[in-house]
């Protein structure tokens, strides 16, 4: 000690001490690093895995699956991802670990086959911190400062949507539902939403509203659309009383198109019973719901009597295309008496107060009030959904939603809600209560259910900031518009075939029958009578083809065109010279395969598929054989099972089915045909 004190004053000694301390510090740090590295979580996991492998595999299999230890990573420069998840999840591609505990377990399902990890990595689907090599830092659970922790499976479809950009990707029902809701709600009318370009949302034309609606109804609708219609697509704009009054005046002053003349109609003689019969026969409920039942393509009719003026409705039913050229509603061929009965029936039956005396359309003259209403109309972006001549579409009133999923969660408002701050929670809350997040918002309140809002959030959560390399993006091209010319084009437009049917993917999907090869499916002689009096081929289906009140020459024109143009060559050349043995064998197969479980024939059988007793007069043999052989090719998701029939078996069944409704024996069994 004394020596040390004596040497204290000399500089070299001080340096020695300093170096000694430094050396010691380095030694400690070095051993700590070494220790830390040796006992790293992933090493323990790998050791566990090696032990587990010894128990689930025999020595022979073990020798085959000699694994490389150490860190394993997948580097995907194109996606900007480095995923080291495989360091711990070693059994992920090995079926032997199907029941092993995590992290060793085999990946569920067939996902690694459809999404090979060397192309997609792990975090592209699951999120989380790919570069981390321990459980906590990989953000298996939400962590502070991690914006994208691993997703629970319930929301994983948001990541499917980043690459899969069709509206309804396979096996992602929540995402598909979310996208469908976005389309139905017309979100893209006010917001730019990548993936929804080119779509238009069609609100009713307003240019003759003064002739169309009752003033009281309009005021209550503007105040809260849900008060009239629970399923209203229009949101509540939270307008003040003054705004409602001026907007009401402005809208009722819109009288550009005078309804068709109905002065000669004798309303006193209206027969509502006939109206009811027409309503049923024309299958209005295929598109319009009443009392909660029916289609959604057209407006709900339950309380239409509280809303619509009689003359306007009469005129609309007579020629809907004059009022709204792009409506999906077809133009029935009804005479004035029938139109009168139908109008009277609708207004009387579907009204909450019974028949009310209509106030005559008032002439709104107060220029100042009208100008104020116009200002509200422009400011709130009504033009995004409703066209009105004289008012220019000033572009989208809402902000663009491109990259919305990557917005900084800490800069977003959450109102008084106590939620984890994530872009998704913000989107969800915004959809549910746009005005209550502590920021002024002109977005209307749509009244989505939480489940619907969650699905829409999923769909919006796939809108990432950085775009993917094109080779990862799956987006089907939009269908080419189909607009035939000539008489067929006119008829198709009048009866709005494409509201329900599609050609080349263009058109509606209410009908399960696309028209692309309809001429090869249906017998020419079946089409015209069917169009004149469409019956139910499938008894259990609620939405049916309407009775158009079509002229016979129109039906014939349809039949000629459809069976000349919409043909599939591969079916047309089918050799239909069947032998009696073919048909007998087909009948055996019919029993053997259990066809009767779903199809009715005569008086027995199920009612899932079409009734079959007149198949021979309805369907062409080439189509029957093709359909039975590969049904999902012609209708993806069909309930017709694919039995993997040999062409001989398919031919036998075709022979049997083609005979139904033609020979004497088959007609006898077809007693219950329509």
């Amino acid at each position: 000690m004394g020596v040390a004190v004596e040497l204290k004053s000399t500089a070299p000694v001080r340096l020695h001490v300093a170096f000694a301390c430094l050396g010691l510090a380095f030694l400690i740090i070095f051993s700590w690093v070494l220790f830390h590295e040796e006992t790293a979580e992933w090493r323990t996991t790998q050791a566990q895995f090696a032990r587990l492998e010894g128990t689930v595999k025999n020595p022979h299999q073990l020798a085959e699956s000699a694994r490389v230890g150490g860190l394993r990573q997948i580097w995907l420069p194109e996606l900007g991802r480095v995923d080291r998840c495989g360091t711990c999840h070693l059994g992920i591609d090995d079926p032997a670990f199907a029941t092993a505990p995590q992290p060793h377990r085999t990946h569920s399902g067939a996902w690694l086959t459809t999404h090979p990890p060397d192309r997609f990595g792990c975090t592209a689907c699951h999120d989380g911190e790919g570069q981390a090599t321990d459980y906590r830092n990989a953000a298996h659970q939400p962590q502070p400062f991690v914006t994208r922790p691993m997703r629970p499976l319930e929301t994983i479809e948001a990541n499917c949507g980043t690459c899969h950009r069709s509206i309804d990707p396979l096996d992602a029902p929540r995402l598909a539902e979310g996208r469908r809701l976005i389309i139905e709600s017309g979100c893209f009318s006010c917001h730019d939403i990548p993936g929804f370009e080119g779509l238009t949302f069609r609100g009713p034309a307003l240019d003759s509203l003064g002739y169309k609606v009752l003033p009281d109804w309009l005021a209550s609708w503007l105040e809260d659309p849900k008060s009239y219609l629970e399923q209203s697509k229009m949101g509540n704009f939270r307008l003040s009383d003054d705004e409602i009054a001026s907007l009401q005046g402005f809208l009722l002053s819109q009288r550009a198109q005078v309804p068709l003349d109905s002065t000669s109609v004798d309303w006193k003689r209206a027969d509502t019973r006939n109206g009811r019969a027409l309503f049923g026969e024309m299958r209005c409920v295929s598109c319009h719901a009443v009392n909660g039942r029916g289609g959604t393509m057209g407006p709900e009719l339950t309380r239409i009597g509280d809303k619509i003026r009689r003359n306007w409705l009469f005129s609309y039913l007579k020629d809907p295309h004059r009022v709204q050229p792009d409506t999906p509603m077809l133009q029935y061929r009804l005479n004035d008496e029938e139109l009168r009965d139908l109008t009277a029936f609708l207004l009387e039956e579907y009204s909450s107060a019974g028949a009310v005396a209509e106030p005559p359309p008032a002439a709104y003259q107060d220029a100042r009030a009208i100008a104020a209403g116009r200002a509200v109309f422009e400011r709130r972006g009504c033009i995004s959904c409703h066209r009105l001549p004289g008012i220019e579409d000033s572009g989208r009133v809402g902000p663009s939603l491109a990259g919305v999923a990557d917005r900084d969660p800490d800069e977003l408002p959450y109102g008084s809600e106590i939620v984890r701050h994530t872009a998704e929670n913000y989107i969800f809350l915004k959809l549910l209560m746009p005005d209550a997040l502590g920021q002024p918002s002109s977005m209307p309140t749509f009244g989505f259910t939480p489940a619907d809002a969650a699905r829409m959030t999923l769909a919006l959560a796939s809108l990432r900031k950085a775009d993917l390399p094109a080779s990862y993006v799956l987006k089907p091209p939009p269908p080419k518009p189909y607009r035939p010319a000539g008489r067929f084009g006119e008829l198709m437009s009048r009866y709005r075939c494409l509201s329900c049917h599609s050609v080349g993917g263009f058109g509606g999907d209410l009908s399960t029958v696309p028209l692309d090869r309809i001429g090869s499916q249906l017998m020419r002689d079946y089409i015209a009578p069917y169009l004149l009096n469409p019956g139910a081929v499938r008894v259990s289906v609620e939405a049916r083809m309407p009775v158009f009140h079509m002229q016979p020459d129109e039906a014939n024109a349809f039949a000629d065109y459809l069976s000349t143009v919409f043909l599939d060559d591969s079916m047309e050349g089918y050799d239909a010279s069947f032998t009696a043995a073919d048909a007998r064998r087909g009948q055996e197969l019919y029993l053997q395969l259990g066809c009767a479980a779903c199809h009715q024939l005569g008086t027995t059988g199920g009612y899932v598929g079409p009734e079959l007793s007149t198949t021979g007069t309805r369907l062409k043999p080439g189509w029957i054989a093709a359909w039975l052989t590969t049904p999902s090719v012609y209708r993806p998701g069909t309930l017709q099972p694919d039995y993997g029939l040999s062409s001989a078996d398919a031919r036998a069944l075709t022979a049997y089915l083609s005979g139904l409704g033609r020979s004497g024996q088959a007609t006898a069994s077809a007693g219950g045909a329509r």
Partner: protein
């Protein structure tokens, strides 16, 4: 947001895989088997023998057997041919989902 999705899936009772199966089940199977697999679908009355109550059937517990019936039809295990083979229409993944849903049926009893 997650809560809203879970809340809908039968009080949070179904896992993701099971609820995927439920959606497929509703489309492909429920017309005969009924939404909950009780054998009470709208087409059940037309079937002889009628579809079984899957929530109590022993066969439901055997996932290999279940997979075989779904993919190859009930005829493949020596039953009536009324339940058709779905192996060519559905992917392996979709059949896995259906199996998961079928096996969840006996779990929740009110």
């Amino acid at each position: 947001m997650l809560d809203a999705i879970r809340a809908e899936e039968r009080g949070g009772d179904l896992s993701y895989t099971e609820s995927q199966g439920k959606i497929l089940f509703a489309h492909y199977c429920a017309t005969c088997h009924g939404d909950e697999g009780r054998g009470d679908g709208q087409n059940a009355s037309n079937l002889n023998p009628p579809p079984p109550d899957m929530s109590v059937s022993k066969n439901t517990r055997d996932s290999a057997l279940l997979r075989k019936v779904i993919a190859e039809g009930s005829a493949a295990i020596g039953r009536s041919p009324q339940s058709p083979p779905w192996g060519r229409s559905l992917s392996r993944q979709q059949i896995d989902y259906l199996v998961a849903y079928c096996q969840s049926l006996d779990r929740k009893r009110p």
